[in-house]
Symmetry: C2
Subunit: 190 residues, 2 copies
């Protein structure tokens, strides 16, 4: 996301302001927050917002990129502290909690794991997939995870399960239980 030519001072300032305003607005109103309102909060014109972020998706990604990267980094920490299977489980739990708690992040993570195809090089999908790959491979080597699933599968299923848990209880009270059913299903056949 860094610019080839460094940004002009005012441009950089507006960019930062927009990011901050966007994170607030998305947290408050969910992914559907009004873009013009975000521009107003940031004290810039809507033209400026659309120049920096051509689509809602682009803004969402930029606004939450730091959180996403923090999540990806957590995978490394957990991998160091816990045996592979447990690390994967714990990480998925944290990811799902984030998905449910931070309004607006659900849509972002969803699109990040969409379209298993070739392209899909969005800024959020890449670190998440990389983090998942590390945990998934370790768990498969350890033998606590089916060999026929891919990191993307695991992320997608976790995302789906988080959505299911949210349907059951918007506070996420069912998340642990639902997630344990998923990990049960992901264990190798005995």
């Amino acid at each position: 996301m860094t610019q080839l030519k460094p940004m002009r001072a005012d441009a950089r300032r507006n960019y930062e302001r927009l990011l901050k305003a966007a994170a607030e607005a998305f947290a408050e109103h969910g992914e559907g927050a009004s873009l013009d309102d975000i521009a107003k909060r940031a004290g810039v014109g809507s033209g400026t917002l659309y120049r920096h972020f051509p689509t809602r998706q682009a803004l969402l990604e930029a606004a939450y990129l730091d959180r996403i990267e923090a999540m990806a980094a957590r995978a490394g920490e957990l991998a160091d502290r816990l045996p592979p299977g447990a690390a994967l489980e714990a990480w998925l739990h944290e990811v799902c909690v984030g998905t449910v708690q931070v309004r607006g992040m659900k849509a972002l993570l969803g699109s990040a794991v969409a379209d298993g195809g070739t392209a899909a090089l969005n800024a959020c999908g890449t670190p998440m997939r990389a983090a998942a790959a590390r945990l998934v491979e370790a768990a498969q080597k350890e033998g606590t995870l089916r060999a026929d699933v891919e990191p993307s599968d695991v992320l997608r299923l976790a995302h789906g399960v988080a959505g299911a848990a949210e349907l059951a209880d918007p506070e996420g009270g069912q998340l642990t239980r639902y997630l344990s059913l998923l990990t049960e299903g992901l264990r190798p056949r005995p």
Copy 2:
């Protein structure tokens, strides 16, 4: 949904037209289809649409109610033809296929299984829950389904898994595989 006083002839005609137009529009553009466009297709004013269906949700429910009821009825057929565990699996598969194929039905089914609480008496949730309950109880009695899950849990998880499969492949190519991982997780611990 039937009226207490029978509807006036013109009212009934408009109601039917709206239903037909809505089913078309939702299938074509997904759940976000323009309501005013639906009114135009039906050849009525938007006021008429909003009088019959105060919310998008209400229209969605009414437009797809027959399909939902057909799905619920399928549960009975499958229960007669197959052993309980297989019947549940087959039914969930059909439900998920419908969810993925018919644009606009996903949101409807999602809301139908939301909020496991007391109320949630929407027209679609009730038959779906009832159908699920029958299959779930039979499978639990047979011993092919964990005893600690409820019909609503199963529906929600299936809905989540269908969403995950759609992320992987909008055509639904991964549905069978993802669903089998779920049913694996729903089997009783050996």
